[in-house]
C-alpha cells in the first residue's frame, strides 16, 4: 500500500460527490452577470463596426479631402486605437455596397471623443464617391481600427524614421498628434516626399514639438530651405541618429527605392515596416466574365465576376455585404471557403495561413477568378446597418 498517511481516505473518497452536492446546496442562486468588466473593455476596443455620420469634409489639396466622421453609436465613441492604424468606411453607392480602408489622421483621444478623421485621395470608384458625392449628414459604417503599422515600445528603437509619399503621410499625421497629446512617446523624423510645396498635406508650423521633425523632400520644385530630389541614403544620414526603426507609407515604387537606400546604410530590410497598399485590378485586354456563386449562411447569390477584378469587387458590385478590411490580404477578415473553381492570389498579397492553402480557404479581397466559382463567405454585419 502506497498511502497510509490519512486513515480516513477511503471514507473521503466515498463522500466526494456528496461533498460537492453540499457545496452546491450552500451556494446562493444569485442571478449570473450579463457581462464582465474584461469583456466590456474588449468590446469597447474591438466593437467590430461603429455607425457614424459625416460631419465635415474639407479640401486640403488637389483631389484630396479630410473627411471627419462622428460616431453615432450608443456611447458616441470610437475605440482608442494605436496611431498608424486604419479604419474602413462602408456605404451604399448606387446598387453597390462598398467597404474601403483609410488610414486614420486623427488622434487616439479624439476617437474616444467620438471623432475620426481620414484623408481621402482620388483613386477609384469609392474615393470618387467620397470626394464628389458624400456630404455632411450622410450615414456610413466604420470598421474598427485595424493594422499593425504602429510604434511598439518593445520592438522599436526610440526614434522612428518615417518615409511618407503623398497621402502616405496620413498615418504619420496621426502619430504626430498622438505624440503631442501624450498617447505615444517616441522621437519621430518624417521624410515627406511630395512633388511641390502645394502638395504638402500638413501645415509644418503645426508640428513644432521637441520629439518631432518633418523634412519635406520636393521632387519637382527647388526652393530654398527645402530638401530636393529623392530620399537617398545621403539625405537620410544627414538627419538620423545611430539607432532607429523605419516605417514607410506611400507608393510601392517609393518602398523599393528607399528600402535599397536603407540597406546601403546597413539596415536589415525585414526590419523596415511598410504599410500595405490596396490591391488593384489585373490587366486584361478583354476580361472574361465568370459566374460567381456566393453562399452566405443559407442564402445563395449568383453574380458576375470579371476576370480582372477581385472576388470582393464582384460581390460589392452586386450589393452583397462582403466582409472587407485591409484590401491587401493581410488581416484575414474576409477569410472564406473556396467550394469550387480556380483562382489566383498574387504572391505579393499572399498572407494566408499554411492550413488555409492546404484546405482551400481564400481571402476574396486579394483573389481573382480564373473560372466559374462557388465560395462560402461570412456575412458582414455592416450590410444590416445601412
Amino acid at each position: 500500500m502506497l498511502f497510509s498517511k490519512y486513515p480516513d481516505d477511503i471514507k473521503r473518497f466515498q463522500e466526494m460527490t456528496n461533498d460537492r452536492r453540499r457545496i452546491i446546496d450552500n451556494t446562493p442562486a444569485t442571478p449570473l452577470p450579463q457581462t464582465y468588466a474584461v469583456n466590456q473593455l474588449s468590446k469597447a476596443l474591438h466593437p467590430n463596426v461603429i455607425p457614424a455620420e459625416i460631419v465635415d469634409t474639407k479640401e486640403i489639396g488637389r483631389n484630396c479631402k479630410i473627411i471627419t466622421l462622428k460616431s453615432t453609436s450608443e456611447n458616441g465613441r470610437f475605440p482608442y486605437f494605436r496611431a498608424g492604424q486604419f479604419i474602413t468606411i462602408s456605404a451604399r453607392v448606387g446598387d453597390s455596397f462598398i467597404t474601403r480602408p483609410y488610414s486614420i489622421s486623427s488622434s487616439p483621444y479624439q476617437a474616444m471623443q467620438g471623432i475620426m478623421e481620414v484623408i481621402v485621395q482620388k483613386a477609384g470608384l469609392f474615393s470618387t464617391y467620397l470626394l464628389e458625392e458624400a456630404k455632411v449628414g450622410d450615414k456610413v459604417v466604420v470598421g474598427e481600427p485595424t493594422g499593425d503599422f504602429y510604434y511598439d515600445n518593445i520592438r522599436d528603437r526610440e526614434t522612428i524614421v518615417a518615409i511618407a509619399g503623398g497621402s502616405g503621410i496620413t498615418p504619420f499625421i496621426s502619430m504626430i498628434k498622438s505624440i503631442i497629446e501624450g498617447s505615444d512617446d517616441f522621437n519621430l523624423i518624417v521624410f515627406y516626399g511630395v512633388r511641390t510645396r502645394s502638395d504638402l498635406l500638413i501645415d509644418l508650423d503645426s508640428v513644432k514639438h521637441e520629439k518631432i521633425k518633418v523634412i519635406p523632400v520636393l521632387s519637382h520644385e527647388e526652393v530654398d530651405g527645402y530638401e530636393h530630389g529623392f530620399i537617398t541614403k545621403e539625405l537620410i544620414s544627414k538627419y538620423v541618429p545611430a539607432k532607429y526603426s523605419v516605417f514607410m507609407c506611400g507608393p510601392d515604387a517609393m518602398y523599393n527605392f528607399v528600402t535599397d537606400e536603407f540597406v546601403k546604410l546597413g539596415l536589415d530590410k525585414h526590419s523596415i515596416r511598410q504599410e500595405h497598399n490596396s490591391i488593384g485590378d489585373r490587366q486584361f485586354v478583354e476580361p472574361k466574365v465568370f459566374k460567381l456563386t456566393v453562399h452566405m449562411r443559407d442564402q445563395v447569390y449568383v453574380v458576375d465576376a470579371y476576370q480582372n477584378e477581385t472576388l470582393v469587387c464582384a460581390m460589392e458590385r452586386a450589393g452583397l455585404a462582403a466582409p472587407v478590411r485591409c484590401k491587401s490580404g493581410s488581416c484575414g477578415f474576409c477569410h472564406s471557403r473556396l467550394v469550387k473553381g480556380e483562382v489566383t492570389t498574387p504572391e505579393k498579397y499572399e498572407s494566408r495561413r499554411a492550413a488555409d492553402k492546404k484546405f482551400g480557404y481564400i481571402h476574396p479581397c486579394c483573389t481573382y477568378p480564373d473560372s466559374d466559382l462557388e465560395i462560402d463567405v461570412p456575412p458582414f454585419v455592416a450590410g444590416e446597418m445601412i
Partner: protein, 510 residues
C-alpha cells in the same frame, strides 16, 4: 423554416468535435460561430512574414499511427486522422526555478525520465519508478471506471485499485506529502502544474498524476501547420458530412418550449433556427446567464454555476526574431520559468498585475525547424492571471499596460536563460485577457474553464455529469466541460456531449 437535428453554438474545439460526431451518426447539424474562423483558441495568425501559433504549446495523446494515443484515436474516429500532420517533440521540458536555482531538461519516456531524476537526487530513480507504478494503477482504475459506466463494484475498486481509491480525494500537495519523496523530485514532478492552472492545494492529484504520466509515457506533438490545421481539418470534415457552419453568426438566445425543452436558437440578425438539441461550446456562465431566458434556468443551475471558480485568465506574448535559435542561444522547445517551485506561492503572484513573471515559453523552431523563414525564430510566452486584476484597466492605458507586462516577462526570461532577445524582435503581438475575451467570449478572458477544486475536479465532474445537466435538449461541452481545460480535453468533452445528445435523441424517439 430552417431546421436542424442539432445546433452547435461555437466552433471551438468542443463544438467542432461535437458537430463531426453528430453528423457522422447521420443527423443534420448547424454550427454557429460568432467569429469569422473556426477553432476558438486553436488558431494561428499572420504578422509580416510569420505565422504564429495562437495557443498550443504541446498536444498530448497523439503518439504514432502504429501506436496511437487517445487523442489520435479520437481524431481517427472523427475522420480527420489523415488530415493532420503531426511533429513529435524531442524533449519534455526545461525547468528553471529561480528560488531553488533549478535548471534542468527532462526527456520523454518513463525510463529516461527516471534516469534523469537519478541525477537530481540519489533516490530520484527509485521515487520516479514508484510514482509510475502508482500512475499506472490510476490509469487502469480510470479505465475500469469508464468501462463500468459510473457503476463500479466497490469490492473490485478497493481490492484491485486500493491506492487509487485512497488517493482519489487527495490534492497534489497532500499526495506528495504522503509519498514523502525528496523535495527536488517533488518540485520536478510539479513542473507541469501550470498546464492545469490550480495550485497544489486545490488540484486533484488523480488528474495531475494522470496528466504527467500521459506526457512522459506517450510524448507530445504539434500539428505541422499550427493548431489552425486541426480546426480546418474538422471544418472540412463537417462539410464532407453535409454539415453547415455559419461564421459571423452569434447565437443570442437558446429558445425553450412550454415544457422547458430546447426548441430553437435565435441569431444575431434576429432570425431563428428550429432544433430540439443544442450543444453549447461555451461557458455555463454565458449559457445560464445570458443565452437562456431567465425563466428557463433552474435554481440548481445557478447554484452550481455560482459555486464554481473561474480559472486562469490568459496572457501571451508572441515574438518573431530575426535570428535563428542557435544564434540567439535558445536550445530548447518548452521552457517552464518559475519564480519558485511552490505552486501556492506562484499562484498568489499570478493573482497580481506586476509580480507575475512565471511563464511557459515555447521556442517553436526547436520543435518545427520549418515554422518560420530560415534564420528566424518564433517564440511565445504564456502566463495566467488567477484573479481579475485586468478588470479595472482603462481603455487609454490598455496598450501601454500590456506591453509593460510583456516586457517584464521577456526580461525575466532573458535573465533566467542567459540570452538577449529584445533587440532582435521583428514582429510582436501581445494577447491579454481582453484578447481572449474578444475571440472566445469567455467571462473575464478565462482560457482554462473552471478551475480544478478539491470537490470540483475531474473525478467528481465525470461522476456527476448527468446531475450537472438541467435543461432537456441542452448539453454544454468544451473547455468548461467535465474533463477540464486543455486541447485533448476540450475535443473529448465536445465528443462526449455529442454522444450524450445522440443518446438523448434516441430516448426521445427522434
Amino acid at each position: 423554416m430552417r431546421k436542424y437535428d442539432v445546433v452547435v453554438i461555437g466552433a471551438g474545439n468542443g463544438g467542432l468535435a461535437a458537430a463531426a460526431k453528430i453528423l457522422s451518426a447521420g443527423k443534420t447539424c448547424l454550427v454557429c460561430e460568432k467569429h469569422n474562423i473556426p477553432g476558438g483558441f486553436a488558431t494561428s495568425f499572420v504578422r509580416g512574414r510569420f505565422e504564429f501559433e495562437a495557443s498550443l504549446h504541446e498536444f498530448n495523446g497523439i503518439q504514432t499511427p502504429e501506436n496511437p494515443g487517445s487523442a489520435r484515436l479520437l481524431f481517427n474516429e472523427l475522420g480527420v486522422g489523415d488530415k493532420i500532420e503531426w511533429i513529435q517533440l524531442k524533449e519534455a521540458y526545461r525547468l528553471i526555478s529561480l528560488k531553488e536555482g533549478y535548471d534542468f531538461t527532462m526527456p520523454f519516456g518513463l525510463e529516461a525520465f527516471a534516469e534523469a531524476n537519478a541525477k537530481l537526487h540519489p533516490d530520484g530513480k527509485k521515487c520516479i519508478q514508484h510514482f509510475w507504478s502508482l500512475c499506472q494503477q490510476i490509469r487502469e482504475a480510470m479505465n475500469y471506471l469508464a468501462e463500468s459506466k459510473g457503476k463500479p463494484d466497490p469490492k473490485v475498486l478497493v481490492e484491485k485499485y486500493g491506492d487509487y481509491v485512497r488517493c482519489a480525494s487527495y490534492t497534489v500537495n497532500e499526495a506528495f506529502e504522503a509519498l514523502g519523496y525528496p523535495k527536488i523530485i517533488v518540485d520536478n514532478l510539479n513542473a507541469y502544474w501550470c498546464y492545469l492552472g490550480a495550485d497544489g492545494d486545490n488540484l486533484s492529484f488523480l488528474h495531475y498524476a494522470n496528466m504527467i504520466y500521459s506526457y512522459i509515457i506517450g510524448g507530445a506533438a504539434i500539428p505541422s501547420m499550427k493548431s489552425h490545421e486541426i480546426s480546418l481539418a474538422l471544418e472540412t470534415r463537417i462539410h464532407e458530412l453535409g454539415g453547415d457552419i455559419w461564421f459571423n453568426t452569434e447565437v443570442t438566445k437558446i429558445l425553450t418550449d412550454e415544457e422547458g425543452h430546447v426548441c430553437g436558437v435565435r441569431l444575431c440578425d434576429g432570425s431563428q433556427v428550429e432544433t430540439r438539441h443544442v450543444i453549447a461550446n461555451c461557458s455555463p456562465h454565458v449559457v445560464y446567464g445570458r443565452l437562456l431566458e431567465e425563466s428557463a434556468v433552474p435554481e440548481r443551475a445557478l447554484k452550481l454555476t455560482n459555486s464554481r471558480k473561474l480559472a486562469g485568465r490568459g496572457f501571451t506574448a508572441f515574438y518573431a526574431f530575426n535570428k535563428s535559435p542557435e544564434e540567439l542561444g535558445l536550445t530548447d522547445h518548452n521552457y517552464f520559468v518559475y519564480e519558485s517551485s511552490d505552486s501556492i506561492e506562484m499562484y498568489k503572484k499570478m493573482g497580481t498585475m506586476y509580480e507575475n513573471y512565471g511563464q511557459a515559453t515555447c521556442v517553436l523552431n526547436n520543435a518545427d525547424p520549418n515554422c518560420s523563414p530560415k534564420g528566424t525564430t518564433i517564440m511565445y510566452s504564456t502566463t495566467l492571471f488567477t484573479t481579475d486584476v485586468w478588470k479595472d484597466v482603462k481603455e487609454e492605458d490598455y496598450y501601454k499596460l500590456k506591453n509593460q507586462i510583456a516586457l517584464a516577462m521577456l526580461k525575466r526570461f532573458e535573465e533566467a536563460v542567459g540570452v538577449s532577445l529584445q533587440e532582435h524582435i521583428e514582429e510582436i503581438a501581445v494577447a491579454t485577457p481582453q484578447t481572449y475575451a474578444r475571440y472566445c467570449g469567455h467571462p473575464q478572458g478565462v482560457i482554462y474553464g473552471y478551475e480544478s477544486q478539491p470537490r470540483d475536479g475531474l473525478l467528481n465532474r465525470i461522476m456527476m455529469v448527468e446531475e450537472d445537466r438541467f435543461v432537456p435538449g441542452l448539453r454544454i461541452g468544451g473547455g468548461f466541460g467535465e474533463r477540464l481545460l486543455g486541447f485533448p480535453s476540450s475535443y473529448k468533452s465536445g465528443y462526449n456531449e455529442a454522444c450524450r445528445t445522440l443518446s438523448d435523441m434516441q430516448k426521445e424517439g427522434n
